[in-house]
């Protein structure tokens, strides 16, 4: 058991050490993202064959993350294998984004709004890169009293312009940015309404807040309170979106249909906000 204090606003009891909990979160994210991708790629029966890449990769990333989360003293080979897998995960995300971007062009090779909204979500594969980066930094250690001096186990020490904690903040901020952009594009298919503006406005707001905090040398009490409640709001908006998407997938019939789950609103996508909210709270939490 462990406990973190988030800006002295809230104390949160953790089931394990903070770093291992981040790793556990990474593992859970790989499981959910892999499942989500499997659902999406099942629509076209996994053709072309490279649509299997993220589906095959996700369990591997999840396995190494879970193993590290469960072990208090992980072995060097396991840590090294995890680092390699996380590096691969970053590449999988970038490659997937390229594939999705190519598919978003219309038959004339032009990028038009309507094609973009109906295309494969152009930034969604970056989730793999984001999760992998968090997974990678979860095993990276910072040299005591030397912010920015990062030790990658088995590889070496690197000097980064910002501290390890700031890196996490940037990951959270960029995660919100990618989610907000995806929300703008996906919800643009049939025009916007009030409900669709909720995740868009929230995503943009959270991006502004987190990146502003990540850029600030010192945080005022107001910044800390804003950040804290923004993360809480992320959890609420994520759960609310999950409800809306589930309702859409039931198609007003109250009946579960695999076809609807496959092709209607992506059921797990809104939970990304909740996920980022939880991660955002953990990474700024001071371990007691």
């Amino acid at each position: 058991m462990s406990e973190i204090s988030v800006f002295h606003i809230a104390r949160i009891k953790l089931p394990m050490e903070k770093n291992r909990l981040v790793m556990l979160l990474v593992g859970v994210n790989f499981v959910f993202t892999g499942f989500d991708v499997a659902l999406s790629h099942a629509v076209n029966n996994f053709v072309p064959a490279y649509e299997w890449i993220p589906i095959i990769y996700a369990p591997l990333g999840a396995a190494s993350s879970f193993l590290l989360a469960l072990k208090t003293n992980p072995t060097k080979p396991l840590t090294f294998a995890h680092i390699i897998l996380m590096a691969l995960g970053i590449a999988v995300g970038v490659l997937g984004t390229a594939f999705h971007a190519n598919q978003a062009l219309n038959p004339l090779g032009q990028l038009t709004w309507i094609w973009l909204t109906f295309a494969s979500p152009i930034l969604a594969p970056l989730a793999f890169s984001g999760i992998s980066l968090v997974g990678l930094y979860a095993v990276v250690e910072e040299i005591k009293d030397n912010p920015g001096f990062l030790k990658v186990p088995g590889i070496g020490i690197f000097k980064a312009p910002i501290s390890r904690d700031r890196h996490f903040l940037w990951f959270v901020g960029l995660g919100f940015a990618a989610s907000a952009i995806t929300s703008i594009i996906d919800h643009g298919q049939y025009g916007y309404n009030f409900y669709k503006l909720i995740p868009i406005a929230y995503g943009l707001f959270a991006t502004g807040v987190v990146i502003s905090v990540a850029l600030s040398k010192e945080w005022s009490r107001g910044d800390e309170v804003t950040y804290f409640w923004t993360m809480i709001a992320g959890i609420v908006v994520g759960l609310l979106g999950f409800g809306f998407h589930l309702s859409g997938d039931l198609g007003g019939t109250g009946q579960f249909s695999v076809e609807r789950i496959l092709v209607f609103a992506p059921i797990l996508a809104p939970l990304l906000y909740a996920d980022l909210g939880v991660l955002g709270l953990i990474v700024v939490g001071e371990e007691k």
Partner: protein, 424 residues
């Protein structure tokens, strides 16, 4: 007051407001915020169809939303909901619908068009080429027999000539091959015949699309009926390829003139209301000969049909020019007819003398004789009327003569072998 607000809150609010303003302005740009909904689009059952289908099959909702039918207030149910006794109907989310509407549903609004279509060679005769009358109900057969242009024997009785290849290739091949095009005239279980969607591609049902030659070229291409390729070689096709983008493709039906289309496409000559000629879905009414046949003969109403076509031609061409084109094309047809008849006589002689079997496509020479008229003879004739000289010459008459020579030599060889007993 603002100074007391935390910087992160101010930045967060600023980012949100600026981004939403950009999104708002973007959606106001012409085409910038184009979505899959357009004004006046009405879907059925309190938008029930669209509610699901904009997620299940968003492309068809988008296509339909762009269509003139949607703008005219035609709802999904107007085409898809069918009577309870319709054998093609299924229960679907509280509606009794057909997934693929047939001419029976199209006729709810387009009575004249479907009637003309069902009395054309695009309808029943297209499918009869594969199965004869086997797939036709008595009512469908009666309707098809009313078609003036149905191929008939010397006694006037319709001849349901079917291509033996359909049975030879069988169900492993034909659904992906000949059936695909010939199903334009396939009898439907609801009593109707054919499929309007073959040309009027769903769900936009675009007038511009159906007027373009690519639609006809879906089926009228390849070695046995290369009209698509011939058109591309012709001056008409060159005009289309080089200037077609400037033409007024969406002019209302029946109002087309040379101002809209300075050169014709397939539809202009064979179907469109153009100049003084009215629109028709009976694709034979401007054709004077059965060019698809091995030996071409005049169609019923041949003279009137030719006058109909000439009326179209006179929109751009002088009378002597048009008469000259027809005269040259008729003489190519006569030339081809004579050679095809010669080859047919040779094959019939071989069969009569029991040198080869009468079973179709059982010997190499029967394949060769088939290619002679089915590929080369047809190509030369089509190209002569459509003004594709290379297809008359090098894809038509020249290979036809070469093939005829081969058939003659092979026939002599087979007769010699038969005489010596080598064939037994």
């Amino acid at each position: 007051m603002v100074e007391k607000l935390p910087r992160s809150l101010i930045i967060g609010i600023a980012v949100t407001l600026v981004a939403i303003l950009i999104i708002y302005l973007f959606t106001k740009l012409p085409g910038g915020g184009e979505t899959a909904k357009v004004q006046n689009v009405s879907f059925t059952g309190g938008d029930k169809c669209a509610t699901c289908h904009q997620r299940v099959t968003p492309d068809i909702v988008y296509q339909y939303a762009m269509s003139t039918m949607a703008k005219s207030g035609v709802k999904c149910e107007d085409c898809h909901v069918v009577e309870k006794n319709n054998p093609l109907g299924h229960d679907h989310e509280g509606f009794f619908i057909t997934y693929s509407p047939t001419p029976k549903q199209c006729a709810r609004c387009h009575v004249r068009e479907t009637d003309e279509f069902e009395h054309s060679r695009h309808a029943g005769p297209a499918w009869m080429a594969l199965t004869g009358f086997d797939d036709f109900s008595p009512e469908q057969r009666k309707l098809t027999e009313e078609i003036p242009e149905l191929t008939r024997g010397p006694n006037g009785i319709p001849t349901a000539t079917r291509n033996a290849l359909f049975d030879i290739e069988g169900p492993d091949v034909t659904p992906a091959a000949c059936q695909s095009c010939h199903s334009i005239g396939k009898p439907n279980q609801d009593g109707s015949i054919g499929n309007c969607n073959k040309c009027h591609l769903r769900h936009e049902f675009s007038l511009a699309q159906v007027r373009k030659p690519e639609v006809c070229g879906q089926c009228h291409l390849g070695p046995d009926h290369p009209q698509d390729e011939i058109y591309k070689e012709s001056a008409h096709g060159v005009m289309y390829a080089t200037q077609g983008e400037k033409w007024n493709w969406n002019q209302k039906a029946g109002r087309l003139t040379v101002q809209d289309m300075p050169a014709p496409t397939c539809a202009t000559c064979h179907m469109s209301g153009f100049g003084g000629e009215g629109t028709t879905h009976e694709v034979g009414t401007r054709l004077s000969m059965f060019l698809f046949a091995a030996v071409s003969t005049n169609r019923p109403n041949s003279e009137q049909n030719r006058r109909n076509m000439e009326t179209l031609c006179y929109n751009c061409h002088s009378k002597p020019f048009v008469k000259n084109v027809y005269q040259r094309a008729d003489s190519v047809t006569s030339f081809v007819n004579a050679r095809v008849q010669e080859a047919t006589n040779i094959i019939n002689g071989l069969i009569k003398d029991k040198v080869i079997t009468s079973k179709p496509f059982a010997t190499q020479i029967s394949f060769d004789a088939f290619d002679l008229w089915h590929y080369y003879g047809r190509t030369a004739k089509f190209a002569a009327y459509m003004q594709g000289p290379d297809y008359v010459q090098w894809h038509g008459v020249y290979p036809l003569l070469k093939q005829l020579n081969k058939v003659k030599e092979d026939a002599m060889r087979l007769r010699a072998q038969h005489k010596s007993g080598a064939l037994k």
